[in-house]
């Protein structure tokens, strides 16, 4: 048995390295879905419902079918043999509407697909789409989840007139006792509004059928190529090993592409049916109407505490707007919220109720943070409301309620075990950066001048690195194959599916250090089911913690095997071999061999060591024993213009703890991007459906994602508490910024307006909404 004494020089792990993937991206040479061209390829466009709810009275497609360049038109009846769009979540009593890939006799939301035209190019397809005559009988629609629960509300699905998809009750500890003994209970209704993920690349699918060998290939802008392959094979009724799924370059996902969509099966169906390659590229309008939305929570929260500010219990009711159908993970979102509702505070009495509600809107599902921003927003708002009630400083009340370092692993009232943490450290550091006492004094001075200056703290914890398989819908492990080529180049195949996060670089850093080579000697492959072993994908801040660990384990296997080859070549025992910087040596031999020598010998096998197989390939699957729980403190320092309601961010400080860091440059990028999306929710974004179910914010002209001047300079630092859950000690950072951000901004604005008696403002805190809060209070 080879020794596991670490002998490698850690040259690249931990280094601030620019990315391996960038040369193709900065020169326009990358291949996204819309860049794929196949000989004879046709172009598909989809006719979508203009109504929130309607009966389809008739669809006349003859004129479209005869239009120039048109190959085929398909409607719901034509694709009836294709299986429904899957939902991977099973919850007790969950009502699952049958989600056909094209609507049949009824449409349930604006954007619901009803027909598809296939033509020689996108212009001809668009022309033909206009020739389809679709007659609808509009029906009453309901898009507000609370209104959907009212008596007499329109039924989204006639078979379930109460519009309830599921309910869930969770209890931990003894909330009744906590409330009975409480010195104070604060209550608030808090909304985490519906958001549109808005990856800059919309979805896109290309499908090609090879009739000779009955192989279907689908290129799709997805975060989960393997899961999608399994599901689409089932939907189409073809053997999974005759379906190849490839993710080309993916232009952002943020959860919106952790899904199996109707269009993926639809393009596969069309390619097989007409035996021609076919491409569908979602327009931005379609992306807003038909790709999942996120959030959509109305929360009623009650937080109890002793008079000294010791938090004792939380009661929460979540009304989750699910939209008209369940996509892959939708109903799981509020369940994740409940898990994280206690935040990072040391109390153990919780009662939570979820009501999942059908509405005439596109389904909600995982959007960056996926359930955790909602939870964090609630608990962080409630802690501030409690602090205000008790006239305590919001930092002081937090420091008072954190579990201490020695309480870890820390069991929560919702059944989780937080892996590791020193929750006060990021907060103390963030306060130090802000010069907290001085800034509070300056705030007091500003208030005397009638200015509205606020400081908002958010101390978040999140659950990520999904996760142990029993706690995830479709396997929580991740896979890696590492292959050393005869020329000592190293190929890493990961089952994760990075799409901007940079694992082609961070995994190359791991591999380079393992063999004493450079990242340029490494190629990281992903996202092609014909090339890469089965994997789960990239979402839930898991790719490095789970996928990276699988890579690390495979690297360890190969290090051990290389050592055996080297030992044989040196004529010593494997335990006597030292490996450093790509050179193997031994105190018992005057010779040395290089990693290159070993790689070659393992393939040409001139002198194969007894009992050792040729080749240098290792595949490992890592099943984590627990989730990882990153944490941190964000502080926003703002000034509100009392005349206009505009929020100006003076400083934004983010101190995050994502465990061990492989590449600080990439982690900074994740934090910045996460904060910008949290800021978008806090200040700008809201998906608005009107009473008839019309999507009012249907374009980038009406749905405001942050522009460069909206986002402040982010002062980002880190503390580093390794996770004990994986050998890399990493936790995850993809969603932390988003989770930490929105409550810090709302807390800051509420703090700024507290002297006026403002206690809460819902997001997005647009100037209009803030101005209204000011003027209402000024009048009062």
């Amino acid at each position: 048995m080879a020794t596991t004494t670490p002998t490698k020089v850690e040259a690249y792990v931990g280094k601030r390295m620019r990315r391996q993937e960038d040369p193709r991206l900065i020169t326009g040479a990358a291949t996204y879905a819309d860049d794929i061209k196949k000989p004879g390829m046709l172009y598909a466009m989809i006719l979508r419902s203009p109504h929130g709810a309607a009966r389809i009275r008739g669809l006349r497609t003859e004129a479209a079918a005869k239009a120039p360049g048109v190959y085929a038109v398909f409607t719901g009846a034509d694709v009836a043999g294709v299986g429904p769009v899957p939902c991977a979540i099973s919850l007790p009593g969950l009502r699952v509407p049958k989600h056909t890939i094209l609507a049949t006799n009824r449409v349930y939301y604006v954007g619901h697909a009803v027909a598809v035209v296939v033509a020689t190019d996108r212009y001809k397809a668009a022309d033909a789409l206009e020739l389809i005559e679709a007659d609808y009988d509009p029906l009453p629609a309901v898009s507000d989840p609370e209104k959907a629960l009212e008596k007499g509300a329109a039924a989204v699905h006639p078979e379930w007139p109460d519009n309830i998809a599921f309910t869930q009750h969770t209890e931990g500890g003894d909330l009744k006792k906590a409330f009975a003994e409480a010195g104070v209970i604060v209550k608030q209704r808090i909304v985490s509004q519906r958001l549109i993920p808005t990856a800059m690349e919309t979805r896109g699918v290309v499908a090609e059928w090879s009739p000779g060998d009955k192989n279907l290939s689908i290129w799709s802008s997805t975060q989960i190529p393997h899961l999608m392959r399994t599901q689409v094979a089932l939907m189409l009724g073809i053997p999974e090993n005759h379906l190849r799924v490839v993710t080309p370059e993916v232009g952002g996902g943020f959860g919106s592409k952790v899904n199996v969509y109707a269009e993926e099966a639809l393009m596969g169906f069309i390619a097989m049916k007409i035996n021609k390659p076919v491409k569908w590229i979602e327009s931005r309008r379609e992306n807003f109407q038909a790709t999942i939305h996120g959030r959509g929570h109305v929360d009623y929260a009650e937080l109890s505490a002793a008079k000294d500010g010791t938090i004792t219990g939380l009661k929460i009711k979540i009304i989750q707007d699910l939209g008209a159908y369940h996509q892959l993970l939708g109903p799981l979102m509020p369940v994740l919220s409940v898990l994280m509702m206690p935040g990072i505070y040391n109390f153990h009495n919780v009662e939570a109720d979820i009501v999942g509600v059908f509405t005439n809107a596109v389904p909600t599902d995982a959007y960056r943070g996926a359930g955790r921003p909602e939870a964090t927003h609630v608990i962080e708002r409630m802690v501030d409301i409690l602090a205000a009630e008790l006239k305590m400083d919001p930092a002081e009340i937090r420091l008072k309620n954190f579990p201490s370092k020695d309480d870890f692993p820390f069991s929560t009232a919702t059944g989780l075990v937080y892996d590791s943490g020193e929750y006060d450290k990021p907060l103390r550091r963030a306060m130090q950066i802000l010069e907290y006492p001085k800034t509070r004094q300056a705030q007091a001075d500003a208030r005397k001048q009638g200015r509205h200056v606020g400081i908002g703290i958010s101390t978040y914890g999140e659950i990520c690195a999904f996760g142990p398989s029993p706690a995830t819908p479709a396997g929580g492990w991740e896979s890696a194959t590492v292959r050393i080529e005869p020329t000592a180049k190293v190929t890493v195949m990961t089952g994760a599916s990075p799409h901007g996060q940079g694992q082609e670089t961070s995994f190359a850093q791991l591999a380079a250090d393992a063999f004493g080579v450079t990242p340029d000697d490494i190629t990281v492959l992903h996202g092609d089911t014909a090339v890469v072993q089965y994997g789960i994908g990239t979402f839930g801040s898991r790719a490095t913690a789970v996928g990276g660990t699988a890579v690390y384990l495979a690297l360890q296997d190969l290090q051990a095997k290389c050592r055996k080859f080297a030992a044989h070549m040196l004529g010593v025992a494997p335990d006597d071999v030292q490996a450093e910087g790509g050179v193997y040596s031994s105190a018992r031999s005057s010779k040395t061999v290089t990693f290159g020598d070993v790689a070659l010998e393992a393939h040409i096998c001139r002198n194969l060591p007894p009992g050792l197989e040729p080749g240098l390939v290792a595949t490992r699957f890592f099943e984590p024993s627990n989730f990882a729980f990153p944490f941190g403190a964000h502080i926003a320092h703002v000034e509100v213009d009392g005349e206009t309601g505009e929020v100006k961010i003076l400083r934004y400080i983010a101190v995050d703890d994502c465990g061990k860091v492989i590449n600080p440059l990439l982690v900074d990028g994740q934090v910045h991007g996460g904060v910008a999306q949290g800021l978008g929710q806090a200040l700008l974004e809201e998906a608005v459906y009107d009473e008839g179910g019309q999507l009012v914010t249907g374009e980038l002209m009406t749905y405001a994602i942050p522009k460069a001047h909206h986002v402040p300079e982010i002062e980002s630092e880190r503390t580093e508490t390794p996770s004990p859950v994986n050998p890399l000690g990493v936790k995850g950072v993809g969603e932390a910024g988003t989770i930490g951000c929105s409550p810090s901004l709302v807390n800051a604005v509420v703090d700024a307006l507290a002297p006026l008696g403002v206690r809460h403002i819902d997001m997005p805190m647009t100037p209009q909404r803030v101005w209204r809060a000011i003027s209402e209070r000024s009048r009062a």
Partner: protein
């Protein structure tokens, strides 16, 4: 109805007979086979399709190909010379000014034009200069760093 056009794309003449309604971005992507210019919204908001038309940044999703007839277009593919990256490309790489890369070609083209107008922009000026280009990944800070770094490098060269 179709019209013959000649467009100088990155120094090479591309001739084609096109429908008058053909968008410049589709001409570049499908006729000239230069797919580095991306379509992100079709409504002139996101800027992913930004190219230089006669040296000025335009959103090619709302320019017709026929409007570019006889004119000069530069795309992301034309920025590097003889394998050497343009300083703005190099700076985006060094400063991690991109993640998914989808907005990047447009963002780089806008930055090139910004720096030709304002060789030494402040961070604030950069933020306003690129406000017609949306990025959902980076939070913009590394993009601002990249444009600053490119400005310094270009000033040192000049």
């Amino acid at each position: 109805m179709e019209k013959s056009i000649r467009v100088n794309v990155n120094g090479k003449t591309v001739e084609a007979t096109v429908e008058p309604r053909l968008l410049l971005v589709h001409f570049l992507r499908e006729v000239a086979a230069l797919t580095g210019t991306h379509v992100g919204c079709e409504t002139t908001v996101c800027g992913a399709c930004t190219v230089l038309l006669e040296g000025r940044a335009v959103k090619s999703c709302t320019v017709l190909a026929v409007q570019a007839d006889g004119r000069k277009v530069e795309t992301i593919e034309g920025l590097a010379h003889n394998g050497a990256l343009h300083p703005v490309q190099e700076a985006f790489w060094n400063e991690h000014g991109l993640q998914c890369g989808f907005c990047t070609p447009g963002m780089i083209m806008t930055s090139v034009q910004l720096l030709s107008d304002q060789p030494d922009p402040s961070r604030e000026e950069i933020r306003h200069g690129i406000e017609g280009n949306l990025c959902r990944c980076t939070g913009y800070m590394h993009i601002v760093n990249a444009v600053r770094a490119a400005a310094k490098k270009m000033a040192a060269r000049a």
